[in-house]
Every structure is written in structure tokens, then in C-alpha cells.
């Protein structure tokens, strides 16, 4: 049985003029235990909105339109934000945010903020046992426990801060972890340290299933088992890592791979090709394919027919003409 299922999820933002902006339109996927799903896409394609949807956390102006999210067979939709924070976040679904500095309170020590995580989710906690438990957990995940727990966020480096946030998010052994660009604010060396810690936690069975969101496809190659490529609120391609990275079929995935660059012999002559144009404005209804305006292989039919998911070479592709 899949541990995490998203079934035809539609989410929209309600503007103050009463307009509905469909930020996520029809996302369907399911994950087995022990799987890492990578989601890639440009800024503004709905990755972070999808994260909020996957947690069942709907804070206005974000509203669910239709669809369902199930963790371990139990639906987490249609709950109040208070209920979500108490019963779902941290235990069922934990989130690792992007900016560690914005997620930590600058006026409180790390140990107090970590303790808050436990106190707010469990009743009758013994204060002495609490700090002992924290110490054990931080030892287990390989942090410099004494130094880190007594420090204020500002005393730590960006990498340590991000690792603290990961430690705190996973304190209650969540079934499912969603990492929303956990490394994009860090430099390459720190990024490697943070990824190494995430792998360490996966090996130690602190959590086993993860959604990893980033716009760096090369990073996903090393982290994820499966990759979903998102464009304008839809998944355009979903397949195993090797399929998507080395043999992309959707024109958008191909274009994304063309925009990558790396330090390799011969790469200096190969120019990274930016995708022309901008993503469509979702405030207006789109009749045909959402990528049609920027697609290099566009046909007249593309602007009229709505593209549906179909299976091409063992993976899901949302393009009628992909081979």
C-alpha cells in the first residue's frame, strides 16, 4: 500500500478581487515507503504551493479546489490550520523549509525551540527527560550537541542552522518528510554536508520517505529515485531518475536539461540555452498545452487541445507528440 497518495489535487489562490488563480492543476502521484521523489521546476511553477497542499495546510489565500491527499490511507484534507499543526505536521508530514534563518526564532536558544516541537505535540512531558531526549537525538544525527543546543541561531553557520532545522523537523519521527529547496541558499560545500546528513537520517530510519524539491536537476540525480518535472501547476513528466535525466521525452524537460552547465571538457563551447519567454499567467484560462508558447516543437493543435498524461517509454508524459 502506498504510504503517501496525492489524487488529482487542484489548489487555487483567491485574490482580493475575487479571482481564482489555479496554482496547482491536477497533480496525481503516489509514493511507496522508502522512496525519494524529486520535484523539479522553475520558480513560480507551483512547487511550494503543492507542498502546502501535501501537508493539508490551507492558510488564506490558498484554498483547495478538489482532490485528495492521503498519508497511510488516511485523508488529511479539509482540516483547520490549528488541527493540521497539532496532529499532522511533525508526526505524519514534516517539512524542511528553505531559509533556516527565517524558520528559527532569533531570540531563543535552539534547545528551547526544539523542546517546543515536543511540548506542542505531546501531553505530560517531563522537562528533565525532554532535554535528555533532545541530547540523544542530536547525538544520533551527528550534530555537535553541546555546542548547538545552547546556542542562539545567529551564533551558528548557515549549514549548521539548516542541519538544526532538519533535526528539529524530524524529532517526532514523521512518516513523510517534504524538503522544500533545503540547500538552494547554501554554497556547494555546505550543500554537500546537508545532503550527507539527510542520507544519514534515511539510513538510520529516522524517516524513510521524502519529497525533495529543487530546481537543480543535477542534484536530484543523486538524491531522488523518481523525478517529477513540474510546469505551470502540472506535472509534465514523471519517471525514474535515469529516465528523466538521461532520456527526457517532454520538450520542457529537454529544455531544462539544456539550461544546465558543468565543468567538463568541451562544455565551454556548449552554451547553456535559456528557454525563451515566460511561464503563462495562470489568472487567465489556458485552453491548450501550457508549454505551447515556449515549446520549440509546437504545432497548431497544441494551442487548442488540452494535453493529458500518457505513458511514453515507461514514464508519464503530458505531451501528445512526445515519442
Amino acid at each position: 500500500m502506498p504510504i503517501f497518495e496525492v489524487d488529482n489535487l487542484h489548489l487555487h489562490y483567491l485574490t482580493r478581487f475575487g479571482a481564482k488563480i489555479p496554482a496547482v492543476a491536477g497533480v496525481t502521484f503516489s509514493m511507496e515507503k522508502g522512496e525519494v521523489l524529486g520535484i523539479a521546476g522553475e520558480s513560480g511553477c507551483g512547487k511550494s504551493t503543492l507542498v502546502n497542499g501535501c501537508m493539508g495546510l490551507f492558510i488564506p489565500p490558498l484554498w483547495p479546489t478538489s482532490g485528495n491527499v492521503r498519508v497511510d490511507g488516511e485523508s488529511i484534507m479539509g482540516r483547520s490550520p490549528k488541527d493540521v499543526r497539532k496532529n499532522i505536521l511533525g508526526r505524519k508530514v514534516a517539512m524542511i523549509p528553505q531559509g533556516a534563518f527565517n524558520s528559527l526564532n532569533p531570540t531563543r536558544k535552539i534547545k528551547d525551540q526544539a523542546a517546543d516541537m515536543i511540548v506542542s505535540h505531546e501531553s505530560n512531558v517531563d522537562k528533565k527527560a525532554l532535554y535528555e531526549r533532545l541530547r540523544q537525538r542530536f547525538d544520533l544525527i551527528g550534530m555537535e550537541t553541546e555546542k548547538v543546543l545552547g546556542a542562539y541561531p545567529i551564533q551558528l553557520t548557515a549549514g549548521t542552522r539548516q542541519r538544526c532545522v532538519i533535526g528539529i523537523s524530524t524529532l517526532l519521527d514523521p512518516k513523510m518528510v517534504i524538503a522544500d529547496e533545503p540547500t538552494s541558499a547554501l554554497d556547494v560545500t555546505t550543500q554537500k554536508a546537508v545532503i550527507r546528513m539527510i542520507f544519514d537520517l534515511l539510513d538510520k530510519q529516522i524517516f524513510s520517505t521524502m519529497i525533495f524539491i529543487t530546481h537543480e536537476l543535477p542534484l536530484l540525480r543523486h538524491v531522488a529515485n523518481r523525478i517529477a518535472v513540474m510546469y505551470a501547476g502540472e506535472f509534465v513528466e514523471l519517471g525514474t531518475t535515469d529516465q528523466v535525466i538521461f532520456d527526457p521525452r517532454h520538450p520542457y524537460t529537454k529544455a531544462l536539461m539544456g539550461a544546465m552547465l558543468s565543468a567538463e571538457p568541451g562544455q565551454r563551447q556548449r552554451k547553456p540555452v535559456a528557454i525563451e519567454g515566460a511561464p503563462p499567467n495562470l489568472a487567465y484560462p489556458i485552453s491548450g498545452c501550457r508549454f505551447a508558447e515556449r515549446c520549440p516543437q509546437v504545432r497548431p493543435e497544441c494551442r487548442v487541445n488540452k494535453q493529458e498524461i500518457r505513458i511514453v517509454a515507461d514514464r508519464q508524459v503530458r505531451c501528445d507528440y512526445a515519442e
Binding site: 556547494v188 560545500t189 555546505t190 554537500k192 543535477p218 539550461a259 558543468s262 552554451k271 547553456p272
Partner: protein, 261 residues
Amino acid sequence: MPSETTIFSAKNLTCVFGHGKKSTKAIDDLTFSIADQEIVSLVGGSGCGKSVLAKIMLNLIKPTSGEFLYKGKPIIDQRFHWREVQPVFQDPFSCFNFFFTIRDQLKASFGIMKTKPSKKEMEERVDQALLAVNIVPSEIQGKYAFELSGGQMQRMLLARIFILRPAVLIADEPTSMVDACVRASILDYLMKLKKELSMTIVFITHDIGLAYYVSDRIFIMHRGKIVEQGTPDDVALKPKNEHTMKLLDDIPDIHKNWISR
């Protein structure tokens, strides 16, 4: 030897923050020179001193000791210096004022010039600069900084460079906040600047892959020192220093084994 063709030259440049026991040497005894119309990349991890060096080049920080010359002369007048040396920063949202429209702020950048062009010419030059970075002028008419996306804002900073046409551009991690697609287009515009305005560019990044793509020369920095320098092919393909190897090793590459699980 410092001459007309040398843009920046530094001799025993040192910059220290703090006093006594707690002092940190951000820039430690650097000696280098940057030639005219060259693209130089400064590469290093966080805290290696690359941004401090950029600020010294912009005359925003005074070095503690050592000699730093622009075109063979010490920097005296900030306004004069800024006519010739201009930056592009990492976070465009912190560079623009949220209370004025983007267009007004782009026009305000003419204020640094010795002789201001006429109003009509100003408008024309702003329009040209916007078109140069692929933005239709009517698209940002009457808009404020918070109404645009990160990629658009980063392009606004580059539009400012197209307006001012400085001799030197200091690009301090211009691509670290944007996604891969926008990154490729921003690199394109940097190349365009170099080609059209024959500019000297100092490109600061932590990603050696980017540096390899854009630059003529790469400086690898570590703890305030330049530990390796050379052409991109030498540095990226035949690294000699351990810090360079580590930087190369840390980039996730789709073909190489990066991290074992």
C-alpha cells in the same frame, strides 16, 4: 606593472575586521592584477572573502593595509569611481526601493553621471536598456519592485548596467537566487555586456562550473588567500590545490558519482 591596461592592481592587500584576539583576516596579503576587458571569476565557499574583495573594488570598504589601485591610481573620489565601476548584487529585492516605481529608479541612476542627458534621451535610453534585457518597456510601466519576479528583478539590475555603461562590472553572485533557466539567460546578458560594451567583469560565485563557463581567468579563494589561479581549463580540469579539488568535487554532476549512500 600597473599601467593603463591594468584595471585593478593589488599589492599586499589586507583587510582585517575586529580587534585583538577576536580579529578576522578577511583578505590576507593578496597580490594580483586584473587586465582590461578580462572576465575574472572569484570562486570560493562561504566566508572565504570574495564579497569583501568585491566591496574593496567598489570602494565600499577601505582595506586595512596594502595598496589597491584602479587604472594605476588610488581611489579617491567615490562618485568618480562609481561612474566607472558598478555592481550587480545577489538579492535584487534589497537593491531597489519599494516605494518608487522601477522606471523612476532606473532613471534616477542617471544622477551619477557628470552631465545628465535631456529628459527625452533619458526615456529613450531606459527603453533601450530594457529591450536589451528582453523586457518590453510597457510591461514594467508603473510597477513596483515587489510586483516582479526574481528573474525579472535580476534583469532590472542588468538593465541599470546597460544604462550606465561602466568600464568595470562587479557581479557578486548574480545567479545564486534564481533557477537554472533564468541563470542561463542572465549569463547570456553578461556575455552580451562584455561583447557590446567591452567591459571588464569580475564575476563572483561559489559554483566553479559557472566560472568555468564565463571566465578568462579563475581565482580560487580560501580564507582570504588566492590559493590557485589560472585559465579555466587549467583550474577546472587540472586542479592542483586541494581546495580547488574540493570545490570541484562538491558540485553535483549528473555523470559522476557525487555522494554515496
